[in-house]
Amino acid sequence: MDILYNILIDPFVQMGSAPDFFLQVLWSGFVAGTLYSLIALGFVLIFKASGVFNFAQGIMVVFAALTLVGLYQAGVPAWLALILTIGAMFALAWLVERIVLRNLVNQEEIILFMATIGLNYFLIGFGEYVFGGEPKPMIAAELGLPTGSTTFEPFGGIVIIEHLDVAAVVMAIILVTALAIFFNKTRIGRALRAVADDHQAALSVGISLNQIWVIVWFAAGIVALATGIMWGAKSDVSFALQIVALKALPVLIIGGFTSIPGAIIGGLVIGFGEKLFEIYWGGLLGSGVEGWFAYVIALIFLLFRPQGLFGEKIIERI
């Protein structure tokens, strides 16, 4: 009976008795969720346009953040370092297209996937060689990101909102909106969707696959940079960040690999879910729920709705 009480009733009693704390948990879940969404977005972009699951997306986050911090530490002013990093992400996209994708065109998807694993290790090695392996602090203040916090007092309690978190959420919203407009309203966005639908037909109307790939990888690089900055500001910039990027996998399973709204909702589900579960149910299962919660949810989705919430329905034709 106690167990049932602890699972079904007690957590809600706690939520009700300390609504301010509940709000605080929700907010931290929301912030984590938006960052998960951003990472997932990087995967979705590349998956949509080229059908490749980009194993290197996580390391791209680290690589982008490292480049930014590394340049700054080398004496480049923060704003210039940001611009140069964006340039570096473009160079990376261009090189990936030239060296990897172009030569593997029309190959099996698994081969392209393997190629991204190779890219992953190359970036780890290259990053360590250039910037060293030790953790570095993110140059948040130098980039003009706000610090400090605001305290609210709802329900007679207190909720603390970090300004950095607000900035992260705002930036995520701006980025997602921009990408959505880019995908739906521009010629290149249309071309991108065309490539995702049918390579041959896209070629026949004069869409250049090479150009599209560069653009998509560049967009994914920008998303990686944004994620790297925000996540780096919360902890430090180190190769451990790529573990966070792995969380994108369950997000994608929930949202569907090809859907931008799916990535956003999936990210939020995981963000809210793991925080709430950790705080209110975590004690029952020992701590560290945050580490595995997302994967369990993903497993459940794989069992019941393998195409994800927004993924294209898989229809077997007979």
């Binding site: 921009a178 309203k185 010629r187 065309a194 049918d198 041959q200 070629l203």
Partner: protein
């Protein structure tokens, strides 16, 4: 604006000596050891409707793929609008004014009819995507201009009612029409149609025939088409080239070709 591909004026140059738009000389194509095309030469005149026929496996679709750069022949030359080359990339073919449709309908299934046709305008739009995202200023104006052209094509092919429908949901006959619309949106000089009437019922075939004739007549577009329905070929085409097992066995007017003994032999025993 770059040099727009202007449809040629028909009528006037019909009477004069025909101008060769595309010349294919001694083209051979093989995959591994399989010879898909063996030393084929023929040309396409500006403003004509050129049919490519032949039994299954004759190399017709391979021929179209060579013309628009999907396949690169090992031997032979292709001269398009006076420029000679051995291979062509699809992107270049598209920029040069070659558009095509596919045997099994290759549409962007997730997009609406309108977006599919708009994608045919890709090469004609030049404004920076940054402006496009803001939907403002010159980019907006450009979008509107292209939309107008696309609307004219929608009107021309009578597909107003499916403008917003995702093409994946359309019946086959209409998908074929949308595919033609997308090719037309490129304002091509040479239009390659791979079995435009396959799988259609009689009424749809009649509609499609009318559209093909109208395209040729109104826009002066040169058309090369692969078709199995001999009635359609005889009605539509100016000249016919016949392939069999990758080789050219006849070339001439529909009347000449249909009385050619080789052609009759090639078609004997082939079920249609």
């Amino acid at each position: 604006m770059n040099v727009a591909v202007k449809p040629a004026d028909t009528g006037s140059d019909r009477a004069n000596a025909p101008e060769v738009m595309l010349d294919i000389r001694n083209v051979s194509l093989s995959f591994g050891g399989v010879h898909a095309i063996k030393d084929v030469s023929f040309n396409i005149h500006k403003g004509e409707i050129r049919a490519i026929i032949g039994p299954n496996g004759a190399g017709k679709t391979s021929m179209l793929n060579v013309i628009n750069g999907f396949y690169h022949p090992q031997v032979g030359e292709i001269t398009f609008k006076g420029e000679t080359r051995t291979q062509m990339r699809p992107y270049v073919a598209a920029t040069q004014g070659i558009a095509r449709t596919f045997q099994n309908v290759a549409l962007f299934r997730g997009m609406s009819t309108l977006d599919n046709i708009m994608s045919g305008r890709t090469l004609k739009m030049h404004k920076n995507f940054f402006w496009q995202m803001l939907r403002f200023g010159p980019a907006m104006q450009e979008e509107v201009e292209h939309r107008e052209r696309v609307e004219e094509i929608i009107d021309f092919l009578e597909i107003q009612h499916i403008r917003r429908t995702p093409v994946g949901r359309l019946p086959y006959g209409l998908q074929k029409r949308v595919e033609l619309a997308r090719a037309l949106a490129m304002e091509p000089e040479l239009l390659l149609l791979d079995e435009p009437m396959a799988g259609m019922n009689l009424e749809e075939k009649e509609d499609m025939s009318r559209f093909i004739l109208d395209v040729n007549d109104q826009f002066g577009t040169t058309i090369a088409l692969i078709e199995h329905d001999m009635g359609v070929v005889m009605d539509l085409s100016t000249r016919v080239v016949v392939l069999d097992h990758g080789e050219k066995i006849a070339d001439g007017t529909p009347a000449e070709v249909s009385s050619n003994q080789d052609v009759i032999d090639a078609y004997l025993g082939v079920a249609h």
